[in-house]
Amino acid sequence: MGVILAGRAGAGTQSAGQDFGDEMRMVMTARQAASGGVAIEDPWRQGTFIEATTIVLASGMRWLGFGAQAGAGTDWRLGAEAFAFSPGDIAGTRELQDGTFGGETGNIRAVSWGASMVSQWTLVQTDAWRVATLARAIGLVQQLPNENNAGVAIAGGLQAQRVTGSGAALTAWGYLGPLGSGAGRTFAGRFTLGAGWMAQMSAGLLGGPEGLGLGAEGDILTEALVQEGAGAVYWFGRLGDPGGTLFVRLGLKHAPASAQSIQPRAGLGLLWRLPSGLGLQFDYALSTLGELGLVHYATIGLRLAPSQPVSRIIQERAVVDEGE
């Protein structure tokens, strides 16, 4: 996914299981998943690109999402996403009138799917600062064997970025939502605060152009549930240069209400960019969910126009560095 608010298609939570959009809560890119759920690289992405993400659980549950984004420089971005959830085989059973087991009925079908529209508009932009709004509208549909549910929600927030040096920038974000309503249930409120720092270095651990990103994020959920994540990404290569860039990501997520309260994350990514600016990126992440098993994330993206995976400011600084 990874357009703007990737990872927040899940409609929040009142308490565990209270939100019928829970099936969408895991939708996020492999980049974000590997970084402890923190979108270190994504908040200020530019250019035109399309992406596809799949997530597979040990139980056979699968998510599949597509996203696309286009924009005009740093002034605005618009994107759209579509995602679907399939739980895999579920054995149906019936019960007798006395409440005893009445036999199996074969597999039952239960799918969810949704779509969202996202936008980012720059409010303030100077050489050192940039502030933008984020907005997102989400629609979810749940198709169960004997009933269908649907709901819509909106989310919004602000992002601010401060150039902290040559090729480095500090980004902070805050989102509220999704807020909305669904069939028989209310979309629960959720407030997210996060911050990240990314820097392109001319000489890193291996002596060449490398980069480092760090980020942390906290979600305050309804009923005072809190979950936090922290992550880091290190890349080998210069972002924006033709050729390959290797990303190594590590993260940790603290989610007390889930199957595993402390969830270590890890992932790798490879970006191959042509001189024309066309780029292909593949990212993979691995997460654990305690007794529910491992979770695999894979994202493949195609960048159709010159763009940078980090902020325009970083890009501009990098170009300056190259020029120098």
């Binding site: 899940g10 939570t13 009142q14 308490s15 565990a16 299981g17 209270q18 939100d19 019928f20 829970d22 099936e23 809560r25 895991m26 139980s59 056979g60 549950m61 959830f85 739980p87 895999g88 579920i90 054995a91 149906g92 059973t93 019936r94 019960e95 007798l96 009138q97 006395d98 409440g99 005893t100 087991f101 009445g102 039952i108 239960a110 969810s112 749940q142 169960l144 064997p145 004997n146 009933e147 549910n149 669904g182 069939a183 028989g184 249930r185 009923e223 989610a255 209400a257 889930s258 199957a259 595993q260 969910l289 305690g290 007794e291 529910l292």
Partner: protein, 630 residues
Amino acid sequence: MPALIFVVCSLFWSFPARAAICWTDGTPLNIDRVDMAVVALGNTIYAIGGWTTDGTTTTVYGTVEAYDPYTQTWTLKADMPTPRYMLAAVAVNNMVLAIGGSTLFPDANGITTVEAYDPSTDTWSAKAPLPAPRTGLTAAVVGGTVYATGGCNAKGSFLRSTDAYDPGVNSWTPKASMKNRRVSLCSAVHKGKIYAIGGNHIDGFLTTTAFEEYNPATDTWLEKQRMPTSRGSAAAAVSGGNIFVAGGMRNVGMGSIPLSIVEVYDPVTNAWSTDTSLPVWRYGHGMVNLELKSTLFAVGGAHFGDSSLIYGDTGAALQATLAMTNPTPATGYTFTATLTISNTGLGTLANVTPMLGPNSGTAYATTVSGPDPPGPFGLIGGASQVVLWTFSATGAGAVRFTCTVTGLNACGATLVTPLRNDMVFPTARLDASLALTSRTLSPGQEVTASLTVTNTGFFPAYGVTGGIQVTPSQVVRLVPVSSTAFVAVLEPGGATTFTWTLTAVGPGTAAVNACATAYDGGGTGDISGCSASSIAVPAPPASGIIRVHPNPVNFPTAVRGTLKFEGMVAGATVRIYTASGLKVWEYSAVGEGMVEWNGRNLSGHPVAPGVYQWIVAAGKTKTRGKLVVE
């Protein structure tokens, strides 16, 4: 309501003497009409078309009404597509055929239209038209062929001609003509011959006494003994081998007078006689005989003058029902007979007398009181009277109560309504009902079986004992401890309960039969009452197999409102997660068997619909699956 049915009641035909007719009033038509067609099909009378006037406006009807002699009611049916009057109607092939007539008033134009009514579908359909227009005709059916005779054509000429209609091929063919031209005649059929009766001739002003017999077998008309009274617009019907002609109009000079006189033709002697006149004159009416009731029905028509068709008097009708309460032994064997007498007509019934008997089996019941009121009493139209008797059952056996209600109508005729009611008074009788505290058991579980026995007879039951049989014993067996083993006397209305304890042994279904036996205090010997049920012992799931049901689960409709985890071992823990891994519920089983989840999360809120993952952890063994909440 002007148009009436006159019912000839109490007719007991005995040749050569014939009892005099007693005309009584019947149920009026819903719509006043004259010059309509009246025909009987089966046990239903149909009144079709006709006209009426309020003195200013004249209406020609396509209205159809059907009379049910059982309920004595007229019901509106589908209108005839072509409203008309002075038509003829016959019943053939389970249909009513409406033939010819006039659509314009007062210029009685003749039309050729023939339409058929199907009572089974309440619909009309067009049939082959008459070869030439006819109005004021008459029609009759012999051997499945319809014969239309006489009337007036479109030029105003009176007709002698006859046309025959074959319903099988839907076509008309000409037949021999009558000797006398006439319109507004009537007809009757007797022993395969058609009799054309009276009518008007010479410009419609002069009525005729002409009486001709048509033999369809030879296609010939033969003049018979003329009717004593010349008349047109009369009605005729056959009853008891005689042809009755009632009412009509007779010309006197240049005027006409309506008639009430009834004349009867005897085909055997070729002679006419008179009978009781209609209560009032009428013309343009119809008359049919329903063998069902051995009665003639004179329907509708006009009771002069020209603009006034109002004639309102309806007859008395006697109806009664007899209901008996079931004697209950506990109340001292008494029971009540309730006779409800109703006068469903508008006329008055006099001398209404309820009479009980003769009854059979009176050794088993005696009259305590009644009838109350004893009668005789009067009953105005629409009124009802309840008459009560009280009885006491004195023994066991069958009793037949008969009841007769009589009353006199305004005609002086006696109306009789016989009624009957059969009852059986049992001796001692054991009604048994088996109840189980549970019908599904796990091995080792116990259940209580209760057999409640009630003596619903009229004599005591002696030495009442209860017994139970459970098969197969590999599934459920009887714990060798019983409760009440013997009841010395069970009085009528009394009850007792036997109980047993059963225990489940192994999987399967066991039949449970419990019976009570006793000696009948009425002396018929041993009696018994039994009741049966069954107990299911489901096989436990194989070791390590967890059965989760129902899936999908809709908690409001699930049994006990829960999702069940069967096959739990002691200490095993159920954990339920959302698709994204948030923990929803957790519970550790205390013992073996079933754990039930009520669909609420750890905070006590109902979970949202969607897909969930469940894990049952027993030691190091984990069983997992997915479920859907709706």
